[in-house]
Structures are given as structure tokens and as C-alpha cells.
């Protein structure tokens, strides 16, 4: 059989197949949709025949393209569902955080050590803190926390400012989470940079406020959202370190294989971190600046920390047997 014969004999079938692929690519399922796998296998066979008989590039390129299109239609991924989201929050996320407890402590230490060192250094020598914050940082700290506790709620008195701040925190803090995660691909260096930088900066802010402003107004403001925001940030660091360690210590896999595998495994961590940081932005935008007594804010913040710790310690434990 010549290539001309081959084309003439199968032309109709190929055209029908192409029509079917066109239709499925547009997302419509017609009367012949269930024939797709069969027709796809036929096309695969045609392509191998054309290749092994060397019918030339004109025929094989056409078939190759048709096979690729069919392959993409058949192997299109399915969309997630709400059930998945619920089971992610209730089971999968706390479980993976528990499973990666080593990374949790690693990232916690990387963040908290610079935080506390800088914060307490303010008591002995303010120059470190001043160097980190800079003139602009210090003046904005004074603007927010320099006076009475009500100062922040006054700053937020204009209509819509709570919402605007909520959006700003999303843009700023979730972006930092994502960058912390991405930095992991540099062998974890980018992740460590963001964690240490955040530790230093937040420590400096806290230290400066403790000694130069009104600490009460600062701590009552941050206590509400601190649990979600800080743990979320640390978890995004875990995701980044998971990626970075895959490159540094690939085990028995090649580095690229380990990278692909571990990055995929780290996805739940970054999803969860983004979710937590978004929730922190809600609290920070709509609750933290409310003019309420300090005792109320401290108790709500404390309960928040307690609930979060309980969530990571206990959520999803009973489901262990059910899921397996």
C-alpha cells in the first residue's frame, strides 16, 4: 500500500475523528462522544503504521497532531469539588502539618529567634531596631501606636477603610507567603531569607513599640490576627523548605525527580498557608482595629491561639482510619 492509498482509505475516518475532537474541545458532548476512546486508539494505530511504513512527514505530521489533540481531550483533568475543600480543611491540612513537624520547628526557630533577639535588644540598645526600621518605619509606627489605644480605630474611621486595609493585607501578606514558597527552589535560601527578614522586621517593630510608643495599643491590635498570620507564614516557610530540601537532599531520586515529587507534596501546605493568611487579613481588617477594651481583645486573641493549636494538634486524627 502506498501513502496515497493509505490516506484515501482512511480519509473519511480521520475527518470524522477530527470533527469529534473539535466538538469535544468546545466542551460539547454529542451522540458520538462515547466513541472517542475507540477512535483515539484507531488513530494511534494509524500513526504507528504511518511511522513504521515511513509514509513521509505530510501524513505523519497530520496524524501526530490529531493524536495529540485527542490525547488532550481524553486526559483533561477534572475540577475539584466543595467536598474536597471541606476535607482539606478538616483533615488533610492539619495532618500534613503534623507529618512535617520537623519542618514546622525548623521554620519556627528561624522566625522566632531573630524576632526575640531583636525585640529584646531594644531594651539594651535601640540602634539595632532603629537600623532595621529606618526613619520612615519609625515614624509610621509612631503614627499608629504612638498615642492612646483608640488611635488605630481613629485611623480607620473613614468609610471603607477597614475593607481597604483587608485588601491591602491580602495583597501584601499572601504575596509574601507565595514568595516564601517560591524561594524554596533556591535550595531553601529564598525561604530562609523571607523568614529571617520577617522575624527581624517584626521583632524590631515590637521592640520599638515597647520602648518608644504605647505598647498597649500595639499588642491589643496584633493579638487578634497574630495566630493565623504568623502560623500561616511559618507554614508557607515549611512549603518552601520542603522544596528546598528536595534539592539539597534528593535521597535515591535524581534532583529533578525529587523536586517534582516534593513540590507536589508541598502544595497542601501553601494552599493552607494562603487560606490562613487570608483569614488573618479578615481579622486584621475588620476586628483588630475595633475600639474595644484591651481585656476583650486579649481574651479573643488568646482563644484564637488556643483554637489554632488545638486544630493542628487534633483535627483529622479520627479520620485517619476512615481515609485509609
Amino acid at each position: 500500500m502506498t501513502s496515497g492509498d493509505f490516506e484515501a482509505r482512511n480519509q473519511d475516518r480521520w475527518l470524522e475523528y477530527e470533527k469529534l475532537v473539535d466538538q469535544l474541545e468546545k466542551g460539547k458532548s454529542g451522540p458520538h462522544a462515547e466513541e472517542m476512546p475507540k477512535r483515539f486508539r484507531e488513530l494511534c494505530l494509524d500513526l504507528s503504521l504511518a511511522e513504521s511504513r515511513m509514509y513521509g512527514p505530510q501524513v505523519t505530521e497530520r496524524l501526530n497532531h490529531l493524536v495529540i489533540r485527542g490525547y488532550e481531550v481524553i486526559y483533561r483533568t477534572r475540577r475539584g469539588s466543595w467536598e474536597k475543600v471541606v476535607s482539606f480543611v478538616a483533615v488533610e491540612f492539619p495532618r500534613i502539618v503534623r507529618k512535617e513537624w520537623r519542618l514546622f520547628w525548623l521554620c519556627s526557630i528561624v522566625f522566632w529567634v531573630p524576632f526575640f533577639v531583636v525585640m529584646f535588644s531594644a531594651g539594651h540598645d535601640m540602634r539595632w531596631v532603629q537600623a532595621i526600621l529606618g526613619a520612615e518605619g519609625m515614624s509610621s509606627m509612631e503614627q499608629m501606636y504612638g498615642g492612646k489605644e483608640e488611635q488605630i480605630s481613629h485611623l480607620r474611621s473613614e468609610y471603607g477603610s477597614n475593607f481597604a486595609m483587608f485588601c491591602f493585607y491580602i495583597k501584601n501578606n499572601v504575596s509574601i507567603d507565595f514568595s516564601t514558597f517560591a524561594g524554596g527552589i533556591l535550595g531553601g535560601l529564598g525561604t530562609l531569607f523571607y523568614l529571617i527578614f520577617n522575624g527581624l522586621f517584626m521583632g524590631a517593630a515590637a521592640g520599638y513599640v515597647n520602648h518608644a510608643c504605647n505598647p498597649e495599643s500595639f499588642w491589643t491590635f496584633v493579638v487578634g490576627h497574630s495566630s493565623l498570620e504568623l502560623i500561616g507564614m511559618i507554614i508557607s516557610g515549611m512549603a518552601g523548605m520542603r522544596v528546598g530540601l528536595a534539592i539539597l537532599n534528593p535521597g535515591r531520586l535524581t534532583r529533578v525527580q525529587a523536586l517534582v515529587l516534593k513540590t507536589k507534596e508541598s502544595l497542601p501546605l501553601i494552599y493552607g498557608a494562603a487560606l490562613m493568611t487570608t483569614m488573618a487579613a479578615v481579622v486584621e481588617g475588620f476586628w483588630s482595629a475595633q475600639p474595644l477594651p484591651s481585656s476583650v481583645k486579649y481574651s479573643v486573641g488568646g482563644v484564637g491561639w488556643l483554637l489554632l493549636i488545638c486544630y493542628f494538634l487534633f483535627a483529622g486524627r479520627r479520620m485517619k482510619d476512615a481515609a485509609r
Binding site: 496515497g4 466542551g27 504507528s48 513521509g56 490525547y71 491591602f168 527552589i185 517534582v260 513540590t263 501553601i270
Partner: protein
């Protein structure tokens, strides 16, 4: 075979069906242009939104619309490529304009997770200073032009469609001469390619090439060319009952 595969941007991928398909990997230059187009689109969207929200701000309150604008900016920064690449087309508008798409290394469409990984890693690939230094080095150092995000996600950027090699059948075959010998598959292929590309060459070059097969055609020069063309025609033409 190994050596030629390594040098080529054409990648053979074996499917579960036992089939091999070929993917043409796209290089950094074309992708940079695609990225430029996307950047312009993103900029235009954010700019238009700024104007619209600015006007809406009179009614809704300036701070509310400023917040919405920041939210849009955030989404454009991180999720614009993600949403387009998991869509049916598998490409951002810029990539589509350049005839590119993103697929898994196996040729199948990418998943949500992969789209998120490859585009979040952009934060590192685009460093330093959005010059795509890391991405470029990784692209040039990897076999399949993969930037770091592609390596981590296991994705490649390919041409939507592999352009067929240029084909000019000339001079048109007058008759068909049966091939006197039994040819190997490679020889059949060589004859077919000779016929399909003959129109790209001058008469002299055509004769020069045909002279290499004078043992088959039994002639040299223009006559040899005509005979080879006729044999190729005989091999490829449509024959009932063959």
C-alpha cells in the same frame, strides 16, 4: 539515534497507548515575547480597572474601590497565568498569540497544582529585577528549555502545532516508473523526501543530489532526476488493489 534526540527540540513522548507523539519544545525568545504580550494585557486591565473603579469610587467610596483595585492587582500578579493555563487552551493570551501552550512532560494538559507551581515559582525565575536571570539560566541549562518553575512542576512549553517541513513538489512528475529493486524502508523514505523537497532546490543542485542515486535511476543529470521523481511518484501514488 540517542545523539540526534539530544540535539533536537523535538521530543518523543510515549503514551500509555503504546504510541509515540512528538512535541516541539519552544525556546526562551518566543516565550519572552509571549510574556511581553501578557504583561501588556495585564497592565491594560489594571489601568482600565483603575479608571473604572475611580469613577465608581464616587458612588461606592474611594477606599472601597481602592481595596478592590488592590485585590485585582494581587489576582493579576499571581493567578492570571494560572487560570489561563489550566483552561482548555492551556495557554495565556500571549502564549496563544505566539502559538504556544503549556503541557506536562508527558504531553497531557497540566493540572491546577502544576499551573500554580510553575507560575508561583516565577517569583524566583524572574529575579533579579524581573530580568528573568534565573529562568534564563535554567532554560538554557535544561534539556527541554525549562525554567525553574517548569522543572518543579514537570511542565514544558511547546508549539501548539508542529509546522510541517516545507514541501514543494517540482518538477511535477510526468509518469510513474516502477522501482526495479526491493528498497529498504529508509530508501523509500529518502525517495519520498527527495520528491517533496525538490522544488526548493535549483536544477543543478537537484541533479547533484540525484547523481548519488544513479545506480538506482541508471542515469545522471536531469534524466536521473526525472527518473527518481517518477519512481517516488510510483511509490506514493494511489493505486487501487495495491
Amino acid at each position: 539515534m540517542e545523539e540526534t534526540v539530544k540535539l533536537d527540540t523535538l521530543q518523543q513522548v510515549e503514551l500509555a497507548e503504546g504510541m509515540e507523539i512528538r512535541l516541539r519544545i519552544a525556546g526562551p525568545m518566543l516565550r519572552a515575547v509571549a510574556y511581553g504580550i501578557d504583561l501588556l494585557i495585564r497592565f491594560a486591565v489594571v489601568a482600565v480597572a483603575a479608571i473604572c473603579l475611580g469613577i465608581a469610587g464616587i458612588a461606592m467610596g474611594n477606599l472601597v474601590t481602592a481595596g478592590l483595585w488592590m485585590l485585582l492587582w494581587f489576582l493579576m500578579d499571581w493567578f492570571y497565568p494560572v487560570l489561563f493555563e489550566v483552561s482548555r487552551r492551556g495557554a495565556t493570551p500571549g502564549k496563544r498569540a505566539m502559538g504556544l501552550r503549556v503541557v506536562q512532560e508527558t504531553g497531557s494538559p497540566i493540572t491546577w497544582g502544576q499551573a500554580i507551581i510553575r507560575n508561583f515559582m516565577r517569583a524566583v525565575d524572574s529575579a533579579p529585577f524581573f530580568m528573568y536571570g534565573f529562568g534564563m539560566v535554567s532554560c538554557l541549562a535544561s534539556k527541554r528549555f525549562q525554567r525553574l518553575g517548569d522543572l518543579a512542576a514537570g511542565t514544558v512549553v511547546i508549539y501548539q502545532r508542529i509546522p510541517a517541513p516545507p514541501r514543494m513538489v517540482a518538477p511535477p512528475p510526468i509518469n510513474a516508473i516502477p522501482v526495479p529493486l526491493k528498497l529498504t524502508a529508509d530508501e523509500v523514505r529518502a525517495l519520498g523526501l527527495f520528491r517533496e523537497r525538490a522544488g526548493l532546490w535549483s536544477d543543478g543542485r537537484r541533479a547533484e543530489i540525484a547523481d548519488q542515486a544513479s545506480a538506482l535511476s541508471g542515469a545522471t543529470g536531469q534524466l536521473g532526476v526525472a527518473r527518481l521523481m517518477a519512481m517516488a511518484h510510483w511509490l506514493q501514488e494511489k493505486r487501487r488493489g495495491a
